[in-house]
């Protein structure tokens, strides 16, 4: 579980995060949603320790991140898996080497043990034949699956995903979403996903927080987001024609 309390972050004069408090639960897919520029990525980077923040606290299972020593932070980070928006695969390594990388860095496993584990996670993301391909030879969806495999190969306690299905077609996006949810439930990982994709919200939004101008404007789940009267949320959720029609059908069905 990750608990965030009153988090503030500024860049010069720009106050980006204005006191966010929330809890990300273990074994659930926790979504952070909001418009572009609402502070989602900054919030995620603060959670990951890539950005320092001015006020507030972030605690991982009760350990406050900012109070940890450098060695403790390094140990904690070994428990974190991250799927970046652009996958961030190391382009000088093959897909197999990319997935093996965290094992090489943080474990003392033999080469055959590492290879077995890589085979297992690549099979888990349906890429068992992609070992020797270079990332540049893989499609966007494959790259995302490799990134997920790399993120989970070392059995992380926390999984962070920054817009995991951006740039993917709707069908592949659902595959990625479902894969993340399955892995989260299967391994009881605390998963935090940064997204502005309403399909993801409907698929895997077990808990959701909505950010607006650096503040938490709303929190709930995929079941409650369609029933809320919160105007900033409804503006965001029903901004597309498709979602407007879905809402209309929902209201008609209710009547």
């Amino acid at each position: 579980m990750i608990i965030v309390e009153d988090l503030h972050k500024s860049f010069g004069e720009a106050h980006v995060l204005k006191g966010i408090s929330t809890t990300f639960e273990k074994g659930k897919t926790n979504l952070i949603i909001g418009q572009s520029g609402s502070g989602k990525t900054v919030f995620l980077k603060c959670l990951l320790g890539l950005f320092d923040y001015e006020e507030g606290s972030i605690s991982y299972e009760g350990k406050i991140f900012s109070q940890l020593s450098e060695d403790q932070k390094r140990d904690l980070r070994a428990d974190i898996g991250m799927v970046f928006q652009g996958s961030a695969l190391f382009d000088s390594m093959t897909i197999g080497e990319n997935v093996m990388f965290p094992l090489k860095m943080f474990t003392n496993q033999s080469k055959s043990e590492m290879q077995d584990r890589v085979n297992f996670v690549l099979k888990r993301v349906n890429l068992e034949d992609a070992h020797n391909k270079m990332p540049s030879e893989a499609s966007g969806g494959m790259q995302k699956r490799v990134a997920i495999a790399r993120a989970i190969v070392n059995n992380p306690k926390y999984l962070f995903c920054d817009e995991p299905n951006s740039g993917l077609d709707p069908k592949t996006a659902i595959v990625i979403d479902n894969l993340i949810q399955e892995i989260t439930n299967e391994y009881q990982i605390t998963t935090v996903i940064n997204s502005h994709d309403m399909n993801s919200v409907m698929e895997i939004g077990e808990t959701i927080i909505f950010l607006k101008d650096g503040l938490k404007a709303w929190s709930g789940s995929k079941e409650t987001i369609f029933k809320t009267d919160n105007e900033v949320v409804t503006d965001f959720v029903y901004s597309s024609n498709l979602m407007k029609k879905v809402r209309q059908m929902y209201i008609e069905e209710k009547q």
Binding site: M82, F84, M105, F106
Partner: protein
């Protein structure tokens, strides 16, 4: 102010490079890869340039000696001194700032743009140590490249002499042996070690701390080349003044 900030950030990066070392089994692979990219990959161009530069120095020196009282062996002497003291260590380093420096800046810069450096940081890896330290170690072999360049520069001069008929081979050989001072070689290699450090770290700095997208990677490579060259030329003056002055 931004210059001072950059100088401070550069020295902090150097300090960070030696902290939290990457696992040796991984580092070993990175060093071997960087030796291949930065050292072995540069041998051809350094050999080509210095061979012909040696030839040109010989031709120009020979053509400018019109006084019959000046001995012909001076051609070999001038070629040796020019190649060992300046052309091999300094001139080659400026070219390497373009070749190796741009490669380092653009490869690290691309890793920054594509969030690969963030990925390393999230994993708890000291990304500066992981990326810059192997380049620094690889560049410790740079004097090896320069020594080959020195040999080929003098050989190029010899070839120009023999095939161009500017002086006899015997005169040239007498010239390259005349008034030889071992300290000149030591001075040259001392400069080369310093330039190797500059060539590994300044381009890494510009790549690591770049912001923006693909266009900025190109700009960072250009800036890195300019500053690496400026620092090499300034250090060349300072070291020459200290060691030979």
């Amino acid at each position: 102010m931004s210059y001072l900030h950059n100088i401070g950030a550069y020295f902090l990066m150097i300090a960070e490079m030696f902290r939290k070392p990457t696992k040796w089994s991984v580092m070993k692979t990175l060093i071997i890869k960087d030796i291949d990219d930065l050292i072995i990959g540069s041998l051809g161009i350094v050999a080509f340039i210095l061979f012909f530069v040696g030839g040109v120095i010989t031709i120009q020196t020979a053509l400018n000696i019109s006084n019959p009282l000046i001995p012909k062996y001076l051609v070999g002497f001038a070629t040796r001194q020019s190649v060992i003291l300046e052309f091999a260590p300094t001139f080659t380093s400026i070219i390497m700032a373009g070749k190796v420096g741009s490669f380092i800046t653009s490869s690290i810069g691309t890793m920054r743009v594509t969030e690969q450096i963030d990925a390393l940081e999230v994993m708890g890896i000291n990304s500066i140590n992981y990326l810059v330290f192997p380049k620094f170690i690889a560049m410790l072999l740079y004097p090896f490249v320069i020594s080959i360049g020195m040999f080929l520069g003098i050989l190029g001069g010899m070839a120009a002499c023999v095939f161009g008929g500017y002086t006899t081979l015997d005169d040239y050989i007498v010239g390259i042996q005349t008034d030889f001072e071992t300290f000149h070689i030591i001075y040259s290699f001392m400069k080369t070690f310093v330039f190797a450090f500059v060539l590994a770290t300044i381009p890494s700095f510009y790549g690591y701390f770049m912001k923006g997208g693909a266009l900025e990677v190109g700009k960072a490579s250009t800036t890195s080349f300019v500053w690496t060259s400026v620092v090499i030329i300034l250090l060349n003056y300072i070291l020459t003044d200290i060691l030979l002055g």
